[in-house]
């Protein structure tokens, strides 16, 4: 049985139609005004999966790497690939025929909402609110079938996978039913909470003009009424700053400015607040516990859209994680707002902050004042790390959202094809590399210059063009932390790097990414949208580009602030050298602070445990990660354990590291291939590897331990394999 109208749903169908479908059927049976609806059972989902082979493909995807070791970026990738599998899979004929007939008979050309109804979704113990997808104002059987696939795919979104894993639910047994419900273009809509989580004696009504999508995803601020739970008496009403409203468009919905007259009036009259309260009480009676009800008013009629129990707190329920997963999924409006905040406020402040710190004369500070300054800088850095997690990482959803729209429209074989449209003309780390390569090119052409550099005369090479470039480089990138380790001479380190770069042929510096496909231009992409949608697509492309570039640049802004913090710590450490000549290098930051403040303080350095020197009896032969940069490369591994290792990196070696930090991108043009422990297709290292056309495999746990410098290594960037062919004796 693939389709079941809600009026035919009985108790024994609970496991066929999922939580939402079953709740709607119950409300229908109690004569609450529920829009006409049918349930697509889990049988339809299972049949689709089995007959298209998607069941096995999904298992291959989610077992690609243990979820316990996967980072959220890798989960993004898994979800993206699975979503694309759904988009590209065709409905099996028998199923398609049954769905077409069933749905078409019921709705014809009436707009509908296509909602998720997973098993176990919205039970009294756990709430999946906001985790799975729902789409509204969908017309015509072709569109409905397309959105059914997307709702099914949302069972495998990163948020859904992670949340089910946190709850200990069996991923492999997860199934999804779908509710197709007549769309009601409400005048005002909202939610009703039978029991206020802050005060059990109260109920809450929240309402907005138009549709309630904006309220649910936080884009539109609602008016809020607090009611007495026993009789519905209004205890308070908090007005919202009513500026925006979600309205249906020809296809889907859009956020528009509110009519100025309406902005002055609450979306619900007292009478209507009471009507919602009575509706909520009926829902509570039906289910025997307080409900969270979504409703809408169309003209004078009140409709119940869905009802779910208010989740009781469970000790094992991961509350913080769920809100974090959800924070990674932002609406376009929300992302545009976030962009403005990042572009206009956060980045300029970060730049100002690091510049101000850079100008400060630390040498002139007393020891105590220096301790205060170190502490202040640590706080500044901690603040920006927090902003990084709260703003910059969620903003990375911008290019992912673009990727989703691209894949929905184009259905490409390669789900990462969209990245080609986002590649920026300029990126900090690539600009920096270009300057280094220009200097290296001069060294390559001028043997005398090269000799002077080998002799350590970088500051006195008597080569005006080179000196001009060097001055510019040091001016723009002097804050590269890596050149400034304790007791090192930055120019010497730069010389080593430039000489090695000069050893690389110029044509190798900018390899073309290897791809046989004919790539789509932005214009071609935009032409796939009709006129009404084109502005949306253009805005999304622009946002995606900014978001993509920021994934690289944000680390550099944060790195600059970190460097200024470390500069102060370094100054403090240097001052302690005369007092503790044999130990000062091992002090923690806290010990440095205490030693600067108190002349009598004598820090105790804990002895590090001796590393076991026993030779392991096993070794890795082939490791599996993610294919993040296409191509094949064989070379000697160079494992980066500390910054100094970077300056010994030789042309053609395989760069093996924890993560290609944007502050160390300058060695990438030298690398034959890249192996990273940190996983993901869209992380910095993968982005840069693709820019240079270098084979890259990411997400290999323990890469830096299992591979040793000097091992002969093959990077298979097509399959995501690293083959260690020969180990150094």
């Amino acid at each position: 049985m693939f389709i079941l109208p809600v009026e035919e749903v009985r108790e024994n169908h609970r496991l066929l139609v999922g939580g939402k479908g079953f709740a709607l059927a119950l409300l229908w049976a109690r004569d609450l005004n529920v829009p006409k609806a049918v349930c697509l059972t889990v049988e339809a989902y299972r049949t689709f999966l089995v007959q298209t082979g998607l069941d096995k493909k999904i298992l291959m995807e989610i077992h690609r790497k243990s979820l316990d070791n996967a980072r959220w970026e890798e989960m993004w990738d898994t979800a993206l690939r699975i979503r694309n599998l759904f988009l590209r899979a065709k409905f099996p004929k028998r199923l398609e025929h049954a769905l077409r007939e069933g749905i078409d008979d019921f709705f014809h050309e009436t707009p509908v909402a296509v909602r998720s109804s997973a098993l176990g979704e919205d039970s009294a113990q756990v709430s999946f609110a906001g985790i799975h997808e729902s789409y509204v104002n969908i017309t015509g059987i072709e569109n409905i079938l397309k959105y059914v696939k997307l709702v099914w795919a949302s069972l495998w979104s990163d948020a859904a996978i992670l949340y089910r894993k946190e709850l200990g639910l069996d991923l492999e047994r997860s199934v999804m039913a779908v509710v197709i419900q007549e769309f009601v273009p409400g005048d005002c809509s909202g939610v009703f909470f039978g029991k206020n989580p802050m005060d059990g004696a109260q109920s809450v009504v929240e309402a907005v003009y138009g549709l309630n999508q904006g309220l649910v995803d936080g884009t539109v601020e609602p008016d809020r009424w607090i009611l007495r739970r026993t009789d519905g008496k209004v205890l308070s009403h908090a007005s919202a700053l009513r500026t925006k409203v979600i309205r249906p468009t020809q296809k889907g919905v859009s956020l528009v400015k509110i009519d100025p007259k309406k902005s002055q009036v609450a979306p619900l009259s007292q009478k209507r607040v009471q009507a919602v309260f009575i509706l909520g009480q009926k829902a509570e009676e039906s289910f025997g516990r307080p409900q969270d009800v979504e409703w809408t008013f169309r003209n004078m009629t009140l409709y119940t859209l869905q009802s779910r129990p208010i989740t009781t707190d469970r000790e094992d329920q991961p509350k913080d994680e769920k809100s974090w997963y959800l924070s990674l999924r932002r609406s376009l409006t929300n992302l545009h707002e976030l962009r403005i905040r990042i572009e206009k406020h956060s980045i300029p402040r970060m730049i100002r902050e690091s510049e101000t710190m850079a100008k400060q004369d630390l040498l002139g500070l007393s020891d105590k004042k220096l301790a205060g300054e170190i502490q202040r800088r640590k706080k500044i850095f901690a603040y920006w790390v927090d902003v990084y997690w709260k703003e910059f990482i969620p903003f990375a959803h911008g290019f992912r959202l673009f990727g989703q729209v691209y894949n929905d429209k184009i259905h490409p074989e390669d789900p990462y094809e969209f990245v080609e449209l986002l590649r920026p003309k300029s990126m900090f780390s690539l600009d920096r590399n270009r300057m280094l390569q220009d200097m290296a090119a001069l060294i390559k052409l001028d043997k005398k210059l090269a000799q002077k550099m080998r002799n350590g005369l970088l500051e006195d090479v008597k080569h005006p063009e080179f000196e001009k470039l060097l001055k510019k480089f040091m001016g723009e990138y002097a804050n590269l932390q890596i050149f400034y380790e304790l007791d090192s001479a930055p120019l010497e380190r730069l010389s080593v790097l430039l000489l090695e770069l000069a050893n690389t042929s110029l044509s190798e510096h900018k390899k073309k990414p290897c791809t046989a496909r004919k790539l789509m231009s932005p214009e071609q992409f935009l032409s796939k949208f009709n006129k009404e949608e084109r502005d949306y697509a253009r805005g999304l492309l622009d946002l995606g580009k900014f978001s993509y570039r920021l994934r690289d640049d944000d680390n550099i802004y944060l790195g600059n602030i970190e460097r200024q913090m470390n500069r102060a710590i370094l100054e403090g450490r240097k001052r302690l050298k005369p007092r503790f000549p044999s130990r000062y290098l091992k002090f923690s930051d806290k010990q440095i602070l205490n030693s600067l403040r108190d002349i009598k303080y004598n820090p105790v350095v804990e002895r590090s445990k001796r590393k076991q020197t026993q030779r392991p009896t096993w070794q890795a032969r082939q490791l599996k990660g993610q294919p993040a940069g296409k191509g094949l490369a064989t070379g000697f591994a160079h494992v980066i354990s500390e910054d100094a290792d970077l300056f010994e990196f030789k042309k053609g070696e395989i760069l093996v590291c924890d993560a290609v930090d944007p502050n160390m991108t300058f060695v990438v043009p030298l690398a034959g291939g890249i192996v990273e422990r940190r996983g993901g297709m869209l992380i910095h290292g993968a982005i840069i590897a693709r820019e240079y056309g270098i084979p890259c495999v990411t997400g290999i746990a323990d890469a830096t331990e299992l591979i040793k410098t000097g091992d002969s290594v093959t990077v298979d960037g097509f399959l995501g394999l690293v083959i260690i062919e020969h180990r150094k004796k």
Binding site: K630, D716, F718, L721, I723
Partner: protein
């Protein structure tokens, strides 16, 4: 008898997703589990491998292989019910002109391996089978040449 035996081999090969491929690494045998499909006439067994693997290097140097497929269930019943089929033959890379047909056959049995097998660093190989050795009922051993 020969038709029955042929059918038993067909059933055994069709029932299993994985088989044990034995290659020769200089003087030492080397074995791998590989996903395979066989042709109806039993003349060919197809499998795939990444190019930077030991088995691929071994096959390039010495193409003769032994390939085992069995119906074990890891219980005592295996001594009475298990059938083990060993194919002996020579493996070679699938030629360009036959690629499409063979890929289709392979992916029909293993659709989830599409990304793997279509990767530029992966190769489809064909064991041209010369002989099958069939062991059943613990010690009953029969052979037939293809």
């Amino acid at each position: 008898m020969s038709q029955e035996l042929k059918k038993l081999v067909q059933r055994t090969l069709e029932s299993q997703h994985l088989g044990v491929l034995a290659t020769l690494d200089k003087k030492n045998p080397y074995e791998n589990l590989v996903a395979f499909v066989s042709t109806k006439d039993l003349k060919n067994i197809i499998f795939s491998t990444a190019v930077y693997t030991r088995k691929y290097a071994n096959l390039r140097a010495f193409p003769h292989v032994s390939f085992l497929v069995d119906t074990r269930s890891n219980s005592e019943k295996d001594f009475h019910e298990c059938v083990a089929v060993t194919a002996l033959g020579k493996a070679r890379e699938v030629r360009k002109e036959e690629q499409e047909k063979i890929l289709h056959l392979y992916l029909k049995k293993h659709p989830y391996l599409e990304d793997f097998v279509k990767s530029p660093s992966c190769r489809l190989l064909n064991i041209q089978v010369k002989k099958y050795i069939i062991v059943s009922e613990f010690q009953k051993v029969l052979e037939f040449s293809v």
